[in-house]
Each structure stands twice: as structure tokens, then as C-alpha cells.
Amino acid sequence: MIKISNVSKYYGDKKALDNLSLEIKEGIVFGLLGVNGAGKTTILSILNGLVDLDEGNIEVFGLDIKHHKKDIKTISSIIPQHLAFYENLSVEENLDFFSKIQKATKENYNRAVEINSLSPFLKQRASTLSGGQKRRLNIAIGLLNNPKVIYFDEPTVGVDPKNRNEILDSIKNYKNLGLTVVYTSHYMTEIEKICDEVAIISDGKLVEQNSLQNLLSNKLSDNVSIEVIYKDILKTLKINLIDETTILTTTNELSSILELLNSNEVPIKQIRYGSTNLEKHFLEITGQH
């Protein structure tokens, strides 16, 4: 469990985090939502020991961050938003390098390669990978030390819908491996898809923390969200796409939308009734109308 208690952080006169308290349970996917400058990256940087907190305390799996920063770094891993590896090295050379840095076992190495489907690209120079493959390498490096907790800082920025879905699916699977995942994203639908619990922060303060189920059921409506497998034709259909693979509709229109999808051979992955758009809720409570 990660326990953040009354944490404040200042950058000069600017208060980046203001008496923030959070609890992240073990083995869940935890979503951290907030607009740019809300303090998401600052929290991740403090949790990773890159930045020191000014006030308050943090415990990561029982380890006090002020006294066990090194130990905490060995059980955690961050997946930066930028592609933090070496483009001029091959996939294998990158993985070898970061493995040796973290003294990773062969088993962890193989698992990171397998989960991220990198086997066919091991000998390929990283600069020649596609955007999605690069993202997967970026994630694989973070798994090499077999972390207990893994922090994702907007890992799907600039990724095409197909690879985005693959990455999101793999993140959901980390929960099954016993990992705790902290996930930040601008895309509300991604949070809706993969997170068990969500914290919304604004101006360095916690606005709301709840399970995704509660957040959505509290706002029950006649909304229906349909998750589909991505097809180019989706862009040309008269539907309300809230991201590349999610259609928002109402119970009244559901049958016609399903017919439309069927006639265009778009496979359906999931239909969620009574759903609301998390973005709508987020905007309501943070006042970002």
C-alpha cells in the first residue's frame, strides 16, 4: 500500500502540492486525473525519489520515503512520458543495458520482452521501431526490475489507436501479476477502461478519490458506452466517438447504432449501460467548463 500523508511541495513561491493525502491499495490500477500543472508529475517524481517533498510523509509498502529512498527505488519503476531509452541502440542492447543497471534476472528480462511482444524486434535499432513499438520498449524497461509498483506517466501520448489498446490491455494484465499500477493520463476514457480507483487532483489538492464504479454509478443516466475494435471507417460514421474506440450513445439510439456497426463490420468489445462520461464528471467537480 502507498500512503501519502499531508504532502506539500514548493517550487520557489509556487505550491505544486498542497497538503495532499492519498491511499493507493496494493494490486490495483490507480488513476491519477488532473489538468496540466495539477501536480500529477510532481507526485510521481516524489514517489520515485527524484524530487524531495517539503512537508508531510509518504510510505511505500511500509518504507518511509525520507529514510528508505534507495529501497523504494528498487521496488518501484516509472514509465516516463518521453521515450527514455537509446534510439541508437538495438532493442536488445537497450534491454541488456537497463537490466544490468538494475541487476535484473533473466526471468524478469524474458517476462518484460514477452508481455510487450518485443521478441521479433530484439535485433532492430530502436530508432527504426514504430511509435507503438517504441512505447512498448519504454514500458518493458520499466518492468525489468520486477517492481511492486509501477508508475505510468501518460504512456499513450502519440500512439495510434491499435497500439494504444494493446498497451492498455497489457497494463490491465499487470494487476493479475500482482503489481500495483499508478496511471496518469489526459484521456478520461483510458482511465475509465483500466482503472479500479481514481483520484482527481486540481491545483495540487485532492478533489475526489473513489472507486471507478462509485464515480460512474453515482452519475447514472441513460448513457451507454460501446467499446469497439478500431476500424478506419469509424471516423466516417454518424456516431458520437469520445475516443478512437469508444462510442457514447443513449439507450434509445442503441439499436440503430448497433445495426450501423454491424453493417460496417465493426466488432464490438464491450457495452456499458448506465455509464457516464468521466470527463463530464471531471469537468463538473474541477470547474473546468
Binding site: 517550487y11 508529475t41 517524481s45 520515485n48 525519489g49 527524484l50 524530487v51 524531495d52 534507495k70 527505488k73 528498487t74 518501484s76 519503476s77 516509472i78 516516463p80 512520458q81 518521453h82 521515450l83 527514455a84 531509452f85 537509446y86 534510439e87 541508437n88 541502440l89 542492447e93 541488456d96 543495458f97 537497463f98 544490468k100 543497471i101 538494475q102 541487476k103 524497461i141 526490475n145
Partner: protein, 378 residues
């Protein structure tokens, strides 16, 4: 862990073709070009002048002058006055009338200092002929006076004994060029080093490494070692160019008169200084373009004031004092002491200490800046 970091850095540099060209090909070409171009300026061979002589006097004295000139290896007598550097015309009645003077016509491209040297060398033969003529004239009056006049020595070679101050050997163009362009080339590590460093910083790879418990000190040392080795390779390859390649172009080979230990000491010290400056620029600049520009300008400035482009001994005294501010000048002095003055490790100790101190200070400052940048997410 440390070995993995060193290996990674090596792979990155070796795959950067532009960097390899800047580090190895460029200084080698500079050494070749400058050694050949400056060959004559540093030549210890006889000075040679081409001349055309027109003897209108046809006297014994003028024939004597012609005979003396033809025996002198410094003069090459040509039959075409258009291509000769100097046209020497001995006028009619030159012997009879001592007021008559020899006329010199000189090509426009000849510099004043060359003209003075030519006149001085020619005077030797003219005066000798005059003394001989005078000796013959006075012989009928006094044999002793005649003998005294005949024995007068007008050659400066026998009048002066030349000894070089503080040096056993005379430098040649290769001995000047090799150390200069070694020093300049070594500082060019700034290009690959800053490019890799800034990419790592910008893409948060350094932050990622830091989150993997890699300290700033470990990062700095592991980055320094490959460049230290690359710099050593540069030094010995450039020395090889001076020793083995330059002689193929009819230019004197490099001679290492001092100790190899001293070469090693000064080159390692220079490397630490170059790595220090490169790291400092890499952690301070906000983009690789900015680092390359700042680094390039700084290199040229260090080189210009440090005696790389213009040898320090031709600079005015005030400029020579300014040159002392450049770390390139400290390294160059060390190399020149070794190549020209047979210096050992103790002679170059002062320059070595200055370079190491400068490099370490730069590295410490770089680490402080890098730590601040990582913690502030810059």
C-alpha cells in the same frame, strides 16, 4: 553496472559517424595540411634565392663576384630574368668607379625580410671581391697590408656561433602542427558528448537512470571513461600521422624527444579538462544545437588565443599573456616541451596540474547543475 554504462556510451559514440569524423579525420587532415603548408616557414635547410645576373662591367672584380655567387648554395642562377626573384645588374665601370652601385630588380611578391637577407648574403660576395681587388692594388706598396685585406672574413657563419636558448633542437612544422591539432581535436569530444547527454536529459533517460539508483557521480564517471579512452586514441593516432604519414609529403617527420610518460600525463590531463568543459556545456545548454554552437565557438576561441591557430611565439607579449588563460595553451605548452625540449614528466607537471584542476572543477560544477536539473525536471 558501471561496465554496462561505459559500454553503452562507447556504442553510442561509435555509431555517431559525424562525431568520429570530427574526432579522428578532421585533426589528422589538419595536421597534414598545416605541416605541409608551414614546412618552408620552419625549414632548417639552406635559404635559396633565384637570381639573374647581368654583368655589364666584365671586369676582374665583376667576374670575381659572379664566381663567388655561383659557388654559393644559397643562390640559384637562372638564365631567364622573368622567372628570377632577383635581377642583379653590375653596371659598366663598376670596378673603376667605387661610386657605381649594383642595381637590384626584385619581384613584387618578395617580402622585405627576404630582401634584407638577400642583400646581406650578396654583400658577402661583393665585399669579398672588393677586398680582393683592394689587396691587389696595395700589394705593390705593402705585402703585409695586402695579406691583411685578403684575409678579411666577411662570412657571418664564422663570425657568430648560434645556440638556441633552452632547447637542444630546432622545431619543424610537424612538431608545431601535431601538438596544436591534437589539443584542438581532443576538445572536439564536446560534439558527441553534449549531443548524447542532452538527448538523455531531454528524454528523461537520466532521470530514469536516477530513479534506478544510479548516482550523478556514477553517471559522470561512466561517461568520462569512454571519452578518456577516445582522447588517448586520438593522441596516438595523430602522433602516428606525424611520425609515419607526414614524411610521405616531403615534410619532416614528428620526433618525440621527451618521455612517453610525459606524453601520457599531459594527454590524460588534457582529456580531463576537455571532458570537464564538454560536460559543463552539455548539462548547461538547453538543446544539442545550442551545445554544439557554444562548444564550437568556445573551441575556436580557446584555439585562437591558446596558440593552436597562430603559434604563441609570433604573438605580441600582451596576447601571450591572454593565451595563458586558455587550457589549450597549457596542453600545447606541455606537448611542445616534450617534443622540442625533451621534457620529462616533472617538467610538464605544472601544466598537468592546471589542466586536471580545471577539468575536475568543471566536472564538479556540472554534477551540481545536473542534480538541480533532474530534481527540477528540466
Amino acid at each position: 553496472m558501471f561496465l554496462a554504462m561505459v559500454k553503452k556510451e562507447f556504442l553510442l559514440v561509435l555509431r555517431d559517424k559525424h562525431a568520429l569524423i570530427a574526432l579522428f579525420i578532421m585533426p589528422a587532415i589538419f595536421i597534414l595540411i598545416m605541416s605541409i603548408a608551414m614546412r618552408d616557414q620552419f625549414s632548417t635547410k639552406n635559404i635559396e634565392f633565384t637570381l639573374y645576373i647581368k654583368d655589364a662591367d666584365k671586369s676582374e672584380m665583376s667576374r670575381n663576384i659572379l664566381q663567388n655567387i655561383s659557388k654559393d648554395k644559397n643562390f640559384i642562377i637562372l638564365s631567364d630574368k622573368k622567372v628570377a626573384q632577383f635581377v642583379v645588374k653590375i653596371p659598366r665601370k663598376y670596378e673603376k668607379n667605387s661610386k657605381n652601385t649594383i642595381k637590384l630588380t626584385i619581384q613584387d611578391s618578395i617580402k622585405n625580410d627576404q630582401i634584407e637577407v638577400f642583400k646581406s648574403m650578396l654583400s658577402k660576395h661583393v665585399l669579398s671581391a672588393r677586398f680582393n681587388s683592394m689587396a691587389k692594388s696595395v700589394k705593390k706598396y705593402s705585402k703585409k697590408a695586402s695579406d691583411t685585406l685578403s684575409s678579411l672574413e666577411v662570412s657571418t657563419d664564422k663570425l657568430y656561433k648560434v645556440k638556441y636558448n633552452d632547447s637542444k633542437l630546432i622545431p619543424n612544422s610537424t612538431q608545431q602542427s601535431v601538438p596544436a591539432w591534437i589539443v584542438f581535436g581532443m576538445f572536439f569530444i564536446i560534439i558527441p558528448m553534449s549531443t548524447i547527454y542532452i538527448n538523455e536529459r531531454k528524454q528523461n533517460t537520466l532521470a530514469r537512470l536516477n530513479s534506478m539508483n544510479v548516482s550523478i557521480l556514477a553517471m559522470t564517471i561512466s561517461k568520462s571513461i569512454p571519452y578518456l579512452i577516445i582522447n588517448q586514441l586520438q593522441v596516438w593516432i595523430m602522433i602516428g600521422v606525424g611520425v609515419f604519414l607526414v614524411p610521405f609529403f616531403d615534410t619532416p617527420a614528428l620526433e618525440i624527444n621527451g618521455s612517453i610518460g610525459a606524453v601520457f600525463a599531459i594527454s590524460v590531463a588534457l582529456s580531463i579538462a576537455a571532458i570537464g568543459v564538454s560536460t559543463l556545456i552539455a548539462v548547461s545548454a538547453s538543446s544539442s544545437e545550442q551545445a554544439t554552437t557554444i562548444g564550437g565557438i568556445l573551441n575556436i576561441l580557446f584555439g585562437a588565443i591558446g596558440g593552436v591557430m597562430v603559434p604563441k611565439f609570433v604573438m605580441p607579449e600582451s596576447m601571450q599573456k591572454i593565451a595563458e588563460l586558455s587550457p589549450m595553451s597549457w596542453g600545447l605548452d606541455g606537448f611542445l616541451d616534450i617534443f622540442l625540449k625533451s621534457a620529462d614528466i616533472f617538467v610538464v607537471m605544472d601544466d598537468t596540474i592546471k589542466l586536471v584542476s580545471f577539468g575536475l572543477l568543471s566536472l564538479i560544477l556540472s554534477m551540481i547543475i545536473l542534480q538541480l536539473r533532474i530534481t527540477k525536471g528540466l
